[in-house]
Symmetry: C2
């Protein structure tokens, strides 16, 4: 009975850190319109302050606030209208005691004024006079120059995935181009004598290639791009050749093949036969996904993932995504969903268990239902919205226990 | 004091349903490799059953299960090896009582066998004999033909956003091409005399256009594409002209402009002046975002969003995203994050309040911290990861109360 010498998740990640201590150093300069979903290559600081001038946040009259003190529904204050601000124009006129200038939302606050009274509290008595029915405090109705963003404020953090909100912020500051990480290139090699092209003819005993497509799409979801997809039989020389091709065009090579010890040994040997090739993880204390191997040649990373799609998904999230996030200096936490466990879940002693689940809404919250199924089953993959991690020291999870679901 | 005649969110959505009762009917035929993130146009059913043959899920020996009953650590059962299955090949040989055939994981189960005993429980005594140290039940170690997916099982639901998992499932079934919704085309018109191109020269009193970029990116995040972006001053004829241009190339037109009643009135008038133009919502009982208008000309939808970016974001999520999901028959629920409210939040009586929040981790869970700031502030936009909805009948939320955060 040959057993793999398995490593704990924390130890494996530490080994990944040690093997690939650098961050990815290539970038693309893109317009912010093309930046959605890309990862910021560097911190971005504001070149200006916002707003660039003190402006009104309401439609109303710019006034001296102290003129309005004591105003009320039954005792208005009367002010002379001495001007009218136009949108997008420089200030004209000046507010002095007992006068007011009309300002629409977003217009410059004219000199002298320190507050804006909303038109809802104003009555126009004639063309030149208003009655003000409510007092305003200094600063009310105004956003001051620099109140929102100061010059050199950090407005985008290296490693952040760019979302619509960030694009809004950058456009507000006049920043039209930013540096984003050039996408890491990832190749996927599916191995197995039984694996055939998914869309061609399938003979007896043969199965369609799933992992190439699954892993390629997962890589794209993680912000990498897929540079090469190869399908090779269980043949040492052909595997070596495929790895060499993949190394030429990618930073990360994923080998996905049979879960047997024999198939993994061939993968490990092929990696070790490369120039400067090394396998530093051979077996991980993760359920599912024990026969995972991780190696390097030079600064390129190679992962041997389990052949079963659901196991491959878990190992991809736990280790490949970890490396991609590290390369991209990803600063954001992974958002999890809090849920109640819908069934007792057993865990494997001495292993971190990643239990795929689906989410159901119940009593105003989420219930996480474990998805079981033989590990070769593709329906497990289809239904799993995420997973629950059960640490190696914990003996399963009881029904009703609070859990965190990390989305796939 | 002119007040808008505001409508409740439910009523507004009902009006949207009535105005646009159809679902979007255009599709693209794409390879599954290009389908990531697109929306399924129709249900997809499996053309085959999976697995296509009964196969082993372990490395081991195919046996007759009853031969192994009673086997134990100290009392093995001895079987004759009568063959060896190759991966990807048709079955050869047959298992009869007291015999076994070697099967690697994924290989066909040879005729006669009804279980596979893992090699971990087997000792090879010589080339032709094994000792089996554990019993197996019928079906153990095997996934049967059709156990995973039956022919005509629904494997993709109309309206589902395609993820890596779905691509894995489709490739397993040999489905290379699917129909996805052609992206809805959306135009964004930013209005305001003070609004200028974000990346050009900005004069005194002028402000950079934010909403065109923010809303365009949000539209992309919702699975629409932006066909036209226009910037127009507060001029009725120019606005009409811009709307006409936008209607030619889009299903949805977003008008984003000043939040003042005057600006909204102009937008409403412009919509009503179109052929078959109608404004059916003028003001919504939502905080922020009261001065929202919604209309149609023929089967095209027009939305007048508030000018403030943070309000525009909320109204986009509450109504525009609602229509897009309706058009795409989106079946998936929007995932929310459960959190504890980090501060007392006041709500506006009679209005649904959408309070932007950020999330902090604390004591093994999330705390939702409300983000305040004058509504013109762009930093509010930058920090808000999502929002809490407070229904119109609820008087705010207390610190420590459980809340749902919907991500932007």
């Amino acid at each position: 009975m040959k057993l793999l010498n398995v490593s704990r998740v924390e130890d494996v990640r530490k080994k990944i850190d040690d093997a690939f201590p650098y961050s990815w150093d290539k970038y693309d300069q893109v317009s912010i319109e093309q930046s959605l979903g890309r990862i910021a290559f560097e911190d971005v600081f504001s070149p200006i302050e916002l707003p660039e001038f003190s402006k009104s946040v309401v439609d109303g009259y710019a006034v001296l606030s102290k003129d309005t003190y004591g105003a009320g529904e039954s005792m208005p204050v009367f002010l002379d209208i001495v001007g009218h601000m136009d949108m997008g124009k420089a200030a004209k006129g000046k507010v002095v005691s007992s006068t007011a200038i009309y300002v629409p939302t977003g217009a410059i606050i004219p000199e002298g004024a320190d507050a804006v009274v909303m038109i809802e509290y104003v009555e126009n008595l004639d063309e030149n006079t208003i009655a003000v029915y409510a007092p305003v405090a200094p600063g009310q109705g105004i956003i001051k120059k620099g109140d929102d963003v100061k010059q050199n404020d950090k407005v985008l953090v290296k490693g952040k995935k760019i979302r619509s909100r960030d694009i809004g912020v950058l456009s507000a500051l006049g920043i039209g181009y930013i540096k984003v990480f050039k996408k890491l290139r990832l190749s996927v090699i599916s191995t197995g004598d039984e694996i055939v092209n998914s869309f061609g003819k399938v003979g007896i005993g043969e199965v369609r290639d799933i992992n190439t497509h699954l892993i390629s799409a997962m890589a794209e979801e993680c912000g990498a791009e897929v540079s090469l997809k190869l399908l090779v039989p269980d043949d040492f020389e052909k595997l070596r050749e495929a790895i060499n091709k993949a190394l030429e065009v990618s930073e990360i090579v994923i080998l996905s093949g049979g879960s047997s010890v024999g198939a993994k040994d061939m993968t490990a040997k092929a990696i070790e036969s490369m120039d400067d090739g090394e396998v530093f993880v051979h077996g991980v204390a993760v359920k599912p996904g024990k026969p995972t191997i991780i190696g390097r040649t030079g600064d390129k990373a190679l992962f041997g993932l389990p052949g079963h799609p659901s196991s491959a998904m878990v190992i991809f999230k736990v280790f490949v995504d970890y490396l991609i996030r590290k390369y991209y200096s990803t600063s954001e936490d992974i958002i999890y969903i809090e849920a109640l466990c819908g069934e007792n879940i057993h865990s494997a002693p001495g292993k971190e268990t990643y239990q795929p689940v689906e989410l159901e809404e119940k009593d105003g919250g989420y219930v996480a239902m474990p998805i079981y199924g033989k590990s070769a089953a593709i329906t497990t993959v289809a239904k799993s919205i995420g997973y629950i991690k059960i640490s190696e020291n914990k003996e399963g999870i009881k029904k009703g226990e609070k859990v965190r679901v990390t989305l796939f």
